[in-house]
Symmetry: C2
């Protein structure tokens, strides 16, 4: 196995640089580490000898000799990523370069409490490892996303509104029984932001990732790092008010954007439209299934149902109104929107954009890009893998420094 | 004069550490620089020899020997700070430890354009230098705050709504004719935040400074640094919507907090109250002066006028409603409120607090402190001085590194 403990701090720094470069030439690595090419060469050579880095062969038949690119070696070990949503869970085994080796997703109810949910996560981790032919001892780090505010140092949830039974529960201690590898926990949307930051190789320094599903949350990248705030609750945008006389939210206030525009609000508006005779399609759906999901609204919208499209536009517009405040305050270069609701279609995104551009200042939006998250449905798992790899390397860096 | 160009990068780093410590023992300096005590001792000794640092004598007659504290020496030179508001300007000469040597404030109209306003600033700089017995050559850095968004690298205003004639004007080139020292320009509320960050010796990492005057702006400290956003417009909270059917703002949107709650809105509400027979005091003020200022409203409020107090509460409550959104998003540890309107009294602050605590999530506000800015009316000038000193040292650090 990997001789982690023999690594110098320079070697650990090189592994971190390679990880964040997602494949780079020695020259590019020297540049990113701000060291000489000869030093980078000798670090890479030593790490290849130790089996921690590998290089791809000469590429490119288009003429000219392209430099070899250096990658993390699969001989480092594997990572486990898990992404717990309010109503779903996903577990994956990843290579050190974030390639997915195995993955499983299923519905779950996070309110069932940590005992039930984590027992299932533990079984899935074991099954997926077996499927990859990997052992416990090959696991070098575990990353876990949860749908609530997390105290990052302790890895514990703090006052999570959707999952009260998890308050102060130590996920880290629970998984420590199975694995020697370190366990890191963060809020799910922070992990989506971390995944995008890695995908971008930190080329953007200040951007937001907004997740719209059962609730609404926001991951913040500030000065090239995830920003968690004074108590770990930064990005809790679901309770920003968009209508002082709007719907009452479970938090007790009126007109929170989450209560007005997230998944349950879309279902509620659709049920009203069905019962109010505004949409035969939605009414038929309600009769057949007893409920209308956001996916049903999306389907009706794609088929040209005016009421469904009105609901999608209203949701996008309210979320855009909330984002306009956030954009005025934070002036990000990009806002990436992800989560289940994004599958509702392009009309949603255009409504968000229209609302933001109308309400934000010209200067804040001059170069602002609003897009769906490029990692899409993989964002949470990749983010969990990046967390595991980054924090494991950081910890090794401290140990050996 | 100071032999800046002979400084080693370690010596420059020590000067920066002393500056941000505002007087510290050698032991504390070693700790903050993460170097050995002997290295810190030798750097301090060398810099004292060069006349760039000084130490205070033994303090404390309460028994026990207190360690000497090390400060920046006045032999380094002087700094010039200037703070341009929408309706005022202030210029000061400061010592390297931010002690005020001379200061002048007067009313001004920033809309008169850079030619008129900066000509006056230039005259005041010269007069104040003379008053201190200092020369051009002793000026080591100049810091300037302006009431609009600034591109920090170029030092130019970008699309400033209050001062269109200043768009892309180079304040730096204008002052370069008079002084060899570098000139740094930033948004006025960023400078207030920088001043508070210096006063706190960076002991708080994530906080906001909100300025309420003619407009409303916000300085953001994130990970211990001023955060300016992708285009330099971060903190532009004045156009966050607090009432979708509210007053029309000069930006074209309805219900911007600036249009509803800043100085001119307070005067407008007071005029309505006076004309509507709700306040004999405000009506008398309007008859006598032809207009009602926020100070008049404050005075009436202190004398128990119910209408005036209602206006103050409404303004505080709307600003608190905007801050609730910002606090949910950013989860700062502290919000400091400054600017002219803060002189309106304690009722204003309590209304802001009540509105934030009511609308923000419990976790975001669990340890949140909302206070008036500790530096109060000195904030802008101290911030301008800190900008000048910090950036001058940083630039020297680059030159000598």
């Amino acid at each position: 196995m990997t001789r982690w403990d023999d690594l110098s701090s320079d070697e650990t720094a090189m592994l971190q640089t390679v990880f964040w470069s997602a494949g780079a030439s020695r020259l590019a690595l020297a540049d990113r580490m701000a060291c000489s090419k000869s030093k980078a060469n000798s670090l890479v050579a030593s790490l290849i000898d130790q089996g921690l880095l590998k290089e791809t062969g000469l590429q490119g038949s288009t003429g000219g000799r392209r430099p070899e690119t250096v990658h993390l070696s699969e001989r480092l070990g594997v990572l486990i990523g898990a992404d717990l949503g309010a109503t779903s869970l996903e577990v994956a085994i990843l290579r050190p370069d974030m390639g997915l080796l195995a993955r499983h997703a299923e519905t779950a109810d996070v309110r069932a409490g940590p005992g039930v949910v984590l027992a299932r996560v533990r079984v899935l981790m074991r099954e997926l490892l077996t499927r990859c032919g990997a052992t416990d001892k090959q696991v070098i780090g575990i990353g876990l996303g949860v749908p609530g505010p997390v105290d990052f140092e302790s890895g514990q949830l703090v006052n999570p509104p959707l999952m009260p039974d998890w308050d102060s529960f130590s996920i880290r201690d629970y998984l420590r029984e199975d694995y020697a590898a370190p366990v890191f926990v963060d809020n799910d949307v922070n992990l989506m932001a971390l995944g995008e930051l890695w995908r971008l190789q930190r080329s953007l320094q200040n951007f937001l990732v907004v997740k719209v599903g059962t609730g609404i949350g926001c991951g913040i990248v500030c000065h090239g790092e995830i920003y968690r705030g004074a108590n770990g609750s930064a990005g809790d945008v679901g309770h920003i008010c968009v209508d002082t006389e709007g719907q009452r939210c479970h938090c007790g206030n009126l007109g929170c954007v989450e209560a007005m525009a997230a998944g349950p609000a879309i279902s509620r508006m659709a049920t009203l439209a069905a019962n109010g005779g505004q949409s035969a399609v939605l009414a038929a759906c309600l009769r057949t299934n007893g409920a209308i999901t956001p996916e049903d609204v999306a389907q009706a919208g794609r088929n040209g149902d005016a009421a469904a499209n009105g609901i999608i536009q209203r949701s996008g517009s309210l979320i855009g109104q909330m984002l306009a405040s956030v954009v005025n305050f934070f002036n990000p270069s990009h806002v990436f929107i992800g989560g289940g609701i994004t599958r509702i279609g392009p009309l949603f995104l255009s409504s968000v954009r229209q609302s933001v551009y109308q309400r934000s200042l010209a200067l804040s939006t001059r170069h602002l890009e609003i897009q769906y998250t490029p990692l899409a449905a993989q964002g949470g798992l990749v983010g969990a893998g990046v967390l595991a790899m980054q924090e494991t390397l950081r910890r090794r860096g401290r140990v050996t420094a």
